[in-house]
């Protein structure tokens, strides 16, 4: 960090509380040394990346094939990096749990990808994208990283177009853009409602081209279960071949984790069924710090849970809020009535009532919390699940009357069809029901400016790292970050590390390898021999309920402490009473899930401790104790303008908190307001 940087925050502290006065998590953690160097170069923010690229040492092309890279995950952040490193001539091994790299969950992203191309000449620029991203993240991201993200965003579009990604185009044949996520410029590139799939196919094809060229070896249906650390450096992984059950050792000069986010700790989320934290968590247990794990993004317009059988949630584009009106009955007695029979005067359009100027278009976190509040009051609609109706109406009757059925169908037809398919209801005639759901995590493994974790030789890209979105991610920025990291950042920063390689060869009989192998085998053996009474899924569901209730949209000191106790109790029971059938020597989906859920227990506890420590509301993190009189989020820059990076201290030991202060030189910190 440039020591000449000065904090230019002029915002008066909103709390009036002296630094360090609150220590809600006292007794749950151990204070550690601060992180004083994120390795970002100094100088003007617009030159830092050029400086770093120039200073990062080069690796001679002839030497690259002597260097080996392990890549865990094949979503946008993994496939793009594996392809790029393969093209450069390194020896790459790539792993994914899916049956094909093209299935990674990046594929589900709908809206688009941001880039500061300024094709609309509407005042966009690298600096504006940087500014919007830092502000959107509620001033909890590292400015050097965010600036670089905005800077390379334009290269991403060029690369993807050259690969044949079929972005939407205008009649003149040039690329179309739209505005997205409440920003005032049109910088979002899109491929109808499936931008994620089209970008991933581009990265996947580039990856398969390298498989064909022999630079990348692909291991599909393989799951990383342990990180191998030798002499303080990441040197490989233990992976399980999910088809044969074989426990394999893979060694390399460097390991990259691009395994995505951990939203499935909530059991129900918009993540894929298999999305998990295991690769990242195993690295955390070996010394990689976990940063801001409590930062979770909850999306307000998802299809509600229909029953206790629910396995996952489906997101609908929040563009629906442009024309739909959100309401619940004023009276609890009306909640099971046909909504069309409830007269206007008995409806509570609560967002329009509470936020008259923004109405139904308030930001994601505010819309989500308001929906939870009305359902908690007992005014939710739709089927009762565990005794509560969790849904609110999103009504298009006014829009249909104003614009006509055809215009509404043209705008939202695909979404209405999807809704009808899942719920069996016709949204053209009956109001839709929506409810918030977890869909992205901003927290992740701590990385420096080079995307290197606290374990030398372990790099982390995409949603798996914490670096770019602060406490809240803007729409269309997840795809941007994944591809920025994979195509344009990591390939430069990793070479500086690899310039010292190849590192001393290690054998499979090295004690660190033997220890990692043994720990994996013991864990598997344990799950298969407990022979308890409860399925893995039943534990996962219960953990998810705890997380959603106490560490979801609104968090409080009492709730979080209760959650920590509940999680610890449930985890103990899980190890003693889980029932996993079958063998370790073939495809065994219960066994796979058992390992993932075991790691979710430990992660969930840390998320609660992190949320407990952060007694402020920022972005996706809302602490009941830190709100204005009107119930708005209140940040405390005086106390919490830092990244909370947690070090593993052992099971049932207090995690160690390292703080990285957030210093802004190119931007001024402000409070959000939607009144």
């Amino acid at each position: 960090m440039d020591t000449t940087d000065t904090v230019t925050s002029t915002e008066a502290p909103t709390s009036g509380i002296a630094d360090g006065e609150h220590d809600d998590a006292a007794g749950y953690y151990t204070p550690g040394e601060p992180i004083i160097d994120s390795k970002a170069p100094g100088g003007p923010i617009s030159e830092r990346w050029s400086t770093r690229k120039f200073e990062a040492r080069l690796v001679n092309p002839a030497n690259r094939r002597k260097l080996s890279v392990i890549m865990v995950g094949t979503g946008l952040a993994g496939a793009s990096a594996a392809a790029t490193l393969g093209e450069a001539g390194y020896n790459v091994k790539t792993f994914c749990y899916q049956d094909s790299p093209r299935r990674a969950h990046s594929i589900a992203a709908q809206g688009g990808i941001n880039a500061a191309k300024n094709y609309k000449e509407d005042g966009d620029s690298v600096h504006r994208l940087f500014y919007d991203t830092v502000k959107g993240g509620d001033y909890r991201s590292r400015e050097s990283n965010v600036y670089r993200l905005a800077e390379v965003s334009t290269n991403i579009i060029d690369q993807c177009v050259a690969q044949g990604v079929p972005f939407a185009r205008e009649y003149g044949g040039l690329l179309d853009n739209r505005s997205f996520g409440g920003v005032q410029v049109s910088r979002t590139f899109y491929a109808r409602g499936q931008t994620g799939q089209q970008l991933l196919i581009g990265a996947y094809q580039a990856l398969e081209r390298q498989v064909s060229a022999g630079t990348v070896t692909m291991y599909a249906r393989h799951e990383m279960l342990e990180l191998i650390v030798v002499d303080g450096k990441a040197r490989g992984i233990i992976a399980r071949d999910m088809v044969t059950g074989e426990i394999q050792t893979h060694l390399a000069d460097v390991v990259v984790i691009a395994s995505g986010g951990y939203g499935n700790v909530f059991y129900l989320s918009t993540n894929a069924m298999g999305s998990n934290v295991t690769a990242a968590w195993r690295a955390h247990r070996k010394g990689a710090y976990m940063a801001n794990p409590c930062y979770t993004q909850i999306h307000p317009t998802c299809i509600p849970v229909s029953g206790s059988h629910q396995s996952k949630l489906t997101l609908m584009s929040e563009s629906l809020r442009n024309d739909g009106r959100i309401w619940v009955p004023k009276n609890q007695a009306d909640c099971d009535k046909d909504p069309r029979d409830i007269p206007e005067e008995d409806r509570d359009y609560y967002l329009e009532r509470i936020y008259p100027s923004f109405g139904n278009l308030v930001p994601r976190d505010i819309a989500s919390r308001a929906a939870k509040n009305v359902c908690d009051e007992g005014r939710g609609v739709g089927p009762e699940v565990d005794g509560v109706r969790r849904g609110v109406y999103l009504d298009f009757a006014d829009a249909i009357e104003r614009l006509g059925l055809e215009a509404v169908a043209n705008k939202y037809g695909n979404l209405f069809d999807m809704y009808a398919r899942i719920t069996g209801e016709d949204p053209y005639s009956v109001p839709m029901r929506i409810y918030p759901a977890v869909h992205y995590v901003m927290g992740g493994l701590w990385v420096d400016y080079d995307l290197q974790s606290t374990i030398p030789g372990l790099f982390v890209t995409g949603e798996a790292n914490f670096s770019d979105h602060g406490a809240n991610r803007l729409g269309a920025s997840a795809l941007m970050q994944g591809l920025a990291d994979g195509y344009f950042v990591l390939p430069h920063t990793i070479r500086d590390y690899l310039a010292d390689g190849p590192f001393e060869p290690i054998g499979e009989d090295h004690p660190a390898v033997v220890e990692a192998q043994q720990s994996v085998r013991e864990r598997i053996e344990h799950f298969l021999t407990v022979n308890g009474t409860r399925s893995v899924d039943s534990y996962h569901r219960e953990l998810g309920n705890i997380m959603w209730e106490y560490c979801g949209m609104e968090r409080s000191e009492d709730g979080l402490k209760k959650a920590i106790d509940l999680i610890r109790g449930l985890r103990d029971d899980f190890y003693r009473n889980v029932k996993v059938l079958g063998s370790s020597e073939s495809l065994n989906q219960s066994l796979e899930k058992a390992g993932r859920v075991a790691d979710f227990f430990e992660l969930g506890e840390l998320m609660c401790i992190d949320a407990l420590n952060r007694r402020e509301s920022c972005g996706g993190h809302f602490r009941a104790e830190s709100q204005t009189e009107d119930g708005e989020a209140m940040r405390h820059d005086d106390e919490f303008a830092y990244v909370a990076a947690w070090e593993w201290a052992g099971l049932d030991e207090r995690p160690i908190l390292h703080k990285e202060d957030l210093v802004y030189t190119a931007i001024e910190m402000k409070q959000r307001s939607y009144k």
Partner: protein, 247 residues
């Protein structure tokens, strides 16, 4: 709803499998087909019987991981993926037959899970545009007519689930290949490798043990993304052109 399920069970690739019958009670019409199988698996686990292995991931119809033959139809009675099929498409008391994808090129790994690696290998043979990272020209330097871009997008919506292969009496992957060849062939960026691409992909397709196309159309009928049959005509046309060019 109460249902009788006849499900293919097979311990591994090399051990013969058989149909097994299960009863599942209290199925909600709002459940997805895969959630119904989740419920059955919970029941089996409770009884001490190993759960049925089946693939799924996104469960929102886009990743292409899931895929079952349901009463003989790939992805079942609706035009959608198995994960987006809901139990309201079935009747109380019905008997439902559930099998894995049928194709020599997709060997069964376990129960309802198959190995579709052959499709990845077809892509490896040429289903890409060769452009190294960093070497791309400015995105606006090559305009693409909107009509071509839209059509490229429409066929690029293929999710590589393999339903076309499972539905085809010949076990052909021509719809999958046709979609890829058409998508890349419609774009100016895809022209330099166009001949080589189709020749290499078709050679790999045949090598993997997929059958030839005889224009039956079962593929397009089963396709959850409604990829049109004419991509196969485009595939054939591109192949003829490549051969005429001496490939």
């Amino acid at each position: 709803m109460n249902l009788t399920l006849k499900i293919w069970r097979q311990p591994d690739r090399d051990t013969p499998g058989a149909m097994h019958t299960y009863e599942v009670a209290d199925v909600s019409p709002d459940m997805s087909f895969l959630e119904m199988l989740d419920v059955l698996n919970e029941q089996l686990n409770d009884k001490g019987e190993e759960p049925i292995a089946f693939d799924s991931d996104c469960r929102e119809g886009i990743c292409g991981t899931c895929g079952l033959m349901i009463n003989g139809d790939a992805h079942g009675p609706e035009v959608t993926t198995t994960c987006q099929l809901h139990m309201r498409s079935f009747k109380d008391g019905e008997t439902i037959t559930i099998e894995p994808w049928r194709s020599d090129a997709f060997p069964v790994i376990k129960d309802l899970v198959v190995d579709r690696g052959a499709l990845d290998r077809i892509v490896q043979a040429g289903g890409y545009i060769s452009v190294n990272t960093g070497s791309a020209p400015e995105a606006h330097s090559v305009p693409v007519p909107k009509e071509d871009a839209d059509r490229a997008f429409n066929v690029a919506t293929c999710i590589q689930c393999g339903a076309c292969v499972a539905a085809c009496p010949n076990g052909s992957a021509s719809l999958f290949m046709g979609a890829k060849v058409t998508h890349l062939g419609l774009l100016p960026q895809g022209q330099p490798e166009r001949d080589e691409r189709v020749v290499n992909m078709v050679a790999q397709h045949d090598h993997e043990g997929f059958g030839g196309c005889t224009n039956i159309g079962a593929c397009t009928a089963a396709c959850p993304k409604e990829i049109p049959l004419d991509v196969i005509s485009q595939l054939n046309k591109d192949l003829r052109t490549a051969i005429r060019h001496g490939h």
